[in-house]
């Protein structure tokens, strides 16, 4: 998370070094001023103060004084050593002065006017001994309990806070929470610069700690209630939302591990650093989709972190092998880490922090949360939504592709996720059951995918022993056809195609036959024609010959007319010739 740039006009701050707290206070407690931390017993006031000092000494080179009115230095050192703070080492190095003042009412007899000058002297002495820049007073109630004269105490406290300001030390004063008021003594009016309230609530047997900045003079601050927790790493505050929406974006593609899905998404996968939501009812293949993504990412040499709230790591590996996704080699290589936790193991905040911690340690490029909805059983929806928002923001800021699984309850609208986190998501895949013909089949579609020209189709989601296949579905009169209905439809279509092929073959053969018979007839007609043509040719040539003879005869007759005898003779000849010719014909 980014720290905001501090403009010179802003109040100088003293960073607490506590995860999250510096972010919501924009830099820490007001430098050189007292801040009040109030809350009921056991909510972490002392630890907050101690961490403020320890971090100051370790990280910011600001020595500190811890003035305890309740616990002894030995107790304090023992208490925080379990958190990995070597307080005794810092005390030895003169970075921190631990002072315990035991104020026991029963041992004190008040006999007239007094003041708390001794406290000031003790403080001054301790501050001088280490050159302190930070001071913690824990808790004022214990001090108040020791003295009966409230008016003297109030006057002295006012003086104390002025005195602390004058010493220019950043002070944290802890106080018990009163009934209906922030502090039992109404201390907030003295330390009005920065007041932080710690709270420990138990809802449904799970306790949640919350922190709120009630006021912070001269500075902007997050005004919400922020969950915080105390774990083996100490104190950490979780900003509900990262304060800005300016995470970097990438157009790099992360393949989903399912080629058909990559094709449906239009760009070949999810965008790197985007958040993907897969919702669906039980048994629709959500986890398998997640495992496919893991396999694809691990095959490319990237690291994956898989948070499982339902199955144990071994169970996931075994189950995924049955659909041809072998995750074991990636687990062995250390590319894939599966972390299984019961949702009810601890509160939401703890889950979130553990997720944060694992992510910061493992540096994955893909994170799967399976399923995010099972955390609902722990808390109310608003909390889960808030937590999801924080997680999504965190992942986006880290450029990690987030894959969230949301289990929809049967009967509800599928388009409504249980925790209404869909608006946070960049890509939303919906897996749904299609019940038809006594079967239950899976359908998948891309409900939304920001920045991608994704398919609008419903595809059938089929788990094969080689992973996931997304098949095109058939649209029938009763809607989409899946499963055996699809298989039947496929067979039917094949049959029809076959039939059609056969019919067109027959038609072609018939046509061929017709063509051949036509050609035969054409040949016959041509032969007939040829014959006629031959006959006609003969006739024509005969006629021509006859015509030629007539001409010749005429010429001969004309010749014979000139010689009568000859004519008569030739006539006779002609007569004979004529008869013979006609006979010959």
């Amino acid at each position: 998370m980014k720290t905001r740039k501090i403009s010179p006009r802003e109040l100088p701050k003293s960073p607490t070094g506590i995860r999250g707290l510096d972010e919501i206070t924009y830099g820490g407690f007001p430098k050189g001023r007292p801040a009040l931390v109030c809350g009921s017993a056991g909510c972490g006031k002392t630890l907050l103060g101690l961490e403020f000092l320890i971090n100051g000494a370790r990280n910011y080179n600001e020595p500190g004084v811890f003035m305890a009115f309740e616990e002894t230095p030995e107790e304090l050192i023992a208490n925080v050593s379990s958190l990995g703070f070597e307080l005794d080492r810092l005390v030895e190095k003169k970075m921190i002065a631990l002072d315990h003042i035991r104020v026991e009412r029963s041992e004190i007899e008040e006999t007239g006017e007094y003041d708390l000058e001794g406290l000031f002297i003790l403080l001054q002495y301790a501050i001088d001994s280490v050159g302190a820049k930070r001071v913690v007073l824990d808790t004022l109630e214990a001090l108040f309990a020791g003295f009966s004269s409230e008016s003297i105490l109030r006057a002295e406290l006012r003086r104390l806070f002025q005195w602390l300001k004058a010493r220019n030390v950043t002070a944290v004063i802890t106080a018990e929470r009163g009934d209906g008021t922030l502090t039992r003594q109404g201390l907030e009016e003295y330390v009005a610069d920065c007041v932080i309230l710690l709270d420990n609530r138990v809802i449904d047997q799970i306790s949640t700690r919350r922190l709120r900045i009630i006021k912070y003079r001269g500075s902007a601050h997050g005004s919400n209630e922020f969950p915080f927790l105390i774990d083996d790493g100490g104190f950490s505050v979780l900003p509900i939302t990262s304060l800005s929406l300016d995470h970097p974006v990438s157009s790099e593609i992360v393949p989903s591990g399912v080629p058909d899905l990559d094709e449906m998404l239009g760009v070949g996968g999810y965008f790197k650093g985007s958040s993907v939501l897969v919702s669906g009812t039980a048994g629709t293949g959500k986890s398998t989709l997640a495992a496919s993504l893991c396999r694809a990412a691990c095959s490319a040499g990237n690291r994956c972190l898989y948070f499982s709230f339902e199955e144990s790591p071994n169970q996931i590996v075994r189950n995924m092998r049955s659909v041809g996704i072998d995750l074991r080699p990636f687990v062995n290589k250390g590319l894939l880490q599966i972390i299984a936790n019961r949702p009810a193991a601890y509160g939401l905040e703890r889950h979130l922090v553990s997720i944060h911690k694992q992510i910061s340690e493992f540096h994955p490029s893909v994170v799967v949360v399976d399923p995010i909805t099972s955390l609902i059983s722990n808390a109310d929806r608003n909390d889960v939504l808030a937590m999801s928002t924080r997680l999504v923001d965190f992942l986006k800021a880290e450029q990690i592709t987030g894959f969230f699984i949301s289990l929809s309850s049967a009967g509800g609208s599928l388009e409504m996720t249980e925790i209404s986190i869909s608006s946070l998501m960049d890509t939303w895949l919906l897996l749904r059951d299609i019940e038809l013909n006594g079967e239950r089949n899976r359908g998948v579609y891309v409900l939304k995918s920001r920045g991608m020209a994704h398919s609008n189709q419903i595809r059938e989601f089929v788990l094969t022993n080689k992973g996931i296949r997304l098949l095109k579905v058939y649209l029938g009169v009763e809607g989409v056809l899946t499963g055996s209905a699809r298989v039947a439809q496929e067979a039917k279509e094949k049959e029809i195609a076959l039939e059609r092929a056969q019919r067109s073959e027959a038609v072609a053969a018939e046509l061929e036959r017709k063509r051949m018979s036509m050609e035969v007839r054409i040949a016959a007609m041509r032969a007939e024609f040829e014959a006629e043509k031959l006959e006609a040719g003969k006739l024509i040539s005969q006629d021509q010959r006859r015509l030629g003879r007539i001409e010749a005869d005429r010429a001969a007759m004309a010749l014979s007319r000139g010689k009568n005898g000859a004519v008569a003779a030739s006539r006779g000849k002609n007569g004979k010739n004529g008869q013979a010719r006609s006979q010959g014909l």
């Binding site: 041992e107 004190i108 007899e109 006999t111 007239g112 006017e113 007094y114 002495y125």
Partner: protein, 121 residues
């Protein structure tokens, strides 16, 4: 430090003259009183005067008063964990007694020092 100031030892003998009970006693059996003040404030001056007066009037045994000014020796505040000023501490005899204020309420001082029976006598 306690034995350094012998001034207190002279006082009970002085007080013993006007009052009946005070006798110079062996210092091991006597009282060591330590009064913490901070500077010469009116409360400090009053406390010193009141303590002397009460001791003179009511102290049955030998006693020793040590006045510590924390303005000059702030490190001495640590051991006895002095918060309020003025504070009167009776270390010997046990148990330790802690009396704060300018000691103007004589009766409360006597109660605080377990000196009531002495007064009643």
């Amino acid at each position: 430090m306690i034995t350094k100031k012998k001034k207190g030892a002279a006082k009970p003998s002085r007080a013993a003259k006007p009052l009946h009970s005070a006798k110079p006693v062996d210092e091991k059996n006597g009282w060591n009183l330590r009064l913490y003040v901070a500077g010469q404030t009116s409360k400090s001056i009053a406390a010193i005067a009141n303590l002397k007066r009460i001791c003179e009037q009511h102290m049955p045994v030998r006693y020793h008063i040590e006045v510590i000014d924390l303005m000059q020796k702030p490190q001495l505040a640590v051991n006895d964990q002095i918060v309020a000023i003025p504070t009167l501490i009776r270390k010997v005899p046990e148990p330790m007694k802690r009396i704060i204020g300018d000691l103007s309420a004589t009766e409360r001082v006597l109660i605080g020092l377990d000196l009531v029976p002495a007064k009643a006598e």
